[in-house]
C-alpha cells in the first residue's frame, strides 16, 4: 500500500510539474520567442530613416502598395547576400509586378552601414530593392515595430550582428500578412508575395 501511495504522489507531482511547466512555457515568463507576436500595423509604427538615395523614409513610405521588408547588414557575408540574392530572384520571377511592391532592406548596423554603403551594396542586387539606414535609436524603433530583434556580437575580426532573418510581408494598407522564414522552401516565396499583394481592403490575409 505504501508503495502505491508513493507512486500516486509521484504521479500527482509529475502532473503538477507538467502543468506548471506548460503554463510557464505558454503563458508564463518562459513564453518562448517562437510564435512571437506579429509585427504591429505599419500605420502604428514610428521611425525615421534614410534610403540609399538620401530620401527621408518611414512607415508612411510603406503604405499605398504592398511591402516586403527584411533586416540585415552589409558586413554579413552569408545570410544577407543570400537573402538579397533570393529576393532578387523572386522579383525577377514577378516581372513587372515587382514594381508594385516596396522591397526594403533595413540595416541593423547603422554604425557601418552609411547611406553610401547601402547604395553601393543594394546596387549589386535587383534594382527594386531599397536600402534604409539611420541613427541607432530610429533603427531600434523600426526593429521593435516589426517585433524583430538584433544584437551586436564581438568577434575576433570586430563584430557581427545577430538579427531576425525572416522576410516580412504587408498588404497595401500596412497590415502584416505573413513572413517568409529563412529555412522555408524558396519556391513558396513568390506565391506568398502574390498573396500579400492580393490582400485587399476587405482585410483578407
Amino acid at each position: 500500500m505504501r508503495r502505491l501511495a508513493i507512486l500516486a504522489a509521484a504521479a500527482a507531482g509529475a502532473l503538477a510539474f507538467a502543468l506548471a511547466l506548460g503554463w510557464w512555457q505558454v503563458d508564463g515568463p518562459g513564453a518562448g520567442t517562437a510564435g512571437d507576436p506579429r509585427p504591429i500595423a505599419v500605420s502604428e509604427m514610428d521611425f525615421a530613416l534614410t534610403d540609399h538615395e538620401g530620401n527621408d523614409v518611414g512607415p508612411e513610405s510603406l503604405l499605398g502598395q504592398p511591402s516586403l521588408v527584411f533586416f540585415g547588414f552589409t558586413y554579413c557575408p552569408d545570410v544577407c547576400p543570400t537573402t538579397l540574392a533570393d529576393i532578387s530572384g523572386w522579383l525577377d520571377a514577378m516581372g513587372a509586378d515587382a514594381e508594385r511592391l516596396n522591397t526594403i532592406f533595413i540595416s541593423v548596423d547603422p554604425e557601418r552601414d552609411t547611406v553610401a554603403a547601402m547604395a553601393e551594396y543594394v546596387g549589386y542586387f535587383h534594382e527594386a530593392i531599397r536600402g534604409w539606414t539611420g541613427p541607432l535609436p530610429e533603427t531600434e524603433k523600426a526593429v521593435a515595430g516589426f517585433r524583430a530583434t538584433f544584437e551586436k556580437i564581438p568577434t575576433e575580426d570586430g563584430y557581427t550582428m545577430n538579427h531576425t532573418a525572416s522576410v516580412f510581408l504587408f498588404d497595401a494598407e500596412g497590415r502584416f500578412v505573413t513572413t517568409i522564414d529563412y529555412h522555408e522552401r524558396r519556391e513558396f516565396a513568390v506565391p506568398k508575395i502574390r498573396r500579400a499583394m492580393g490582400a485587399g481592403s476587405d482585410g483578407v490575409t
Binding site: 543570400t82 575576433e156 545577430n162 529563412y182
Partner: protein, 152 residues
C-alpha cells in the same frame, strides 16, 4: 649549391596546385565558389563540398589563403524565432565516406581581413588544413555578388 636545390624543390612544390600529403588524398572537394566582395573591409565567403573517400575520419582544423589574413570556418544558425547568428564552427569532422557541405545559411569559409578584393571572374587558392597535418589546395572561382550557388 644546397640552397639552390632547396629553392628548386620549393619552387616545384609551390608550383603544384593541389599538392597533398598523406590523408588528404582521400579528400575530394566539389563545387567551390565564392562571392565577389566590395573592397576589402567586409569579410568574404567561400562555399564547397568536402568529401572524405577514405576509411579514416578526417578533421578540418583550419584554412589558409593569400586573399585573407584570417580565414575561418563559421556556422550560420537560424533559431525558432527566425534570428540568425554566426560563430566560428571549430574543428569539422568528416566521417569516412562522409561529406560536409559549406553552403549558404550553414557552414561557410569566412574570409576575414581580406588582403585584396574578390573580383568576379577571378579565382584564388584556398588551402584546407587537416588534423593529421595534411593540406588540400582548392581553386575557388569568384562569382557575382548576387550568386546563389556554384552555377551563379
Amino acid at each position: 649549391m644546397k640552397s639552390k636545390y632547396l629553392t628548386i624543390a620549393a619552387a616545384i612544390l609551390t608550383a603544384m596546385p593541389g599538392f597533398v600529403f598523406a590523408g588528404a588524398e582521400d579528400i575530394v572537394v566539389g563545387d567551390p565558389w565564392s562571392r565577389a566582395s566590395i573592397g576589402t573591409s567586409r569579410p568574404g565567403v567561400a562555399y564547397m563540398t568536402i568529401r572524405n573517400t577514405g576509411d579514416t575520419e578526417m578533421t578540418l582544423t583550419g584554412l589558409r589563403t593569400e586573399v585573407a589574413a584570417m580565414p575561418q570556418v563559421h556556422r550560420t544558425a537560424t533559431n525558432g524565432s527566425g534570428v540568425s547568428s554566426m560563430s566560428p564552427a571549430g574543428d569539422i569532422e568528416i566521417a569516412p565516406a562522409g561529406t560536409v557541405s559549406l553552403e549558404p545559411g550553414g557552414l561557410h569559409a569566412m574570409l576575414m581581413k581580406l588582403s585584396r578584393p574578390l573580383i568576379e571572374g577571378e579565382s584564388y587558392s584556398l588551402i584546407l588544413i587537416f588534423g593529421d597535418g595534411s593540406e588540400v589546395a582548392v581553386t575557388v572561382p569568384v562569382l557575382g555578388m548576387g550568386a546563389r550557388g556554384p552555377e551563379g
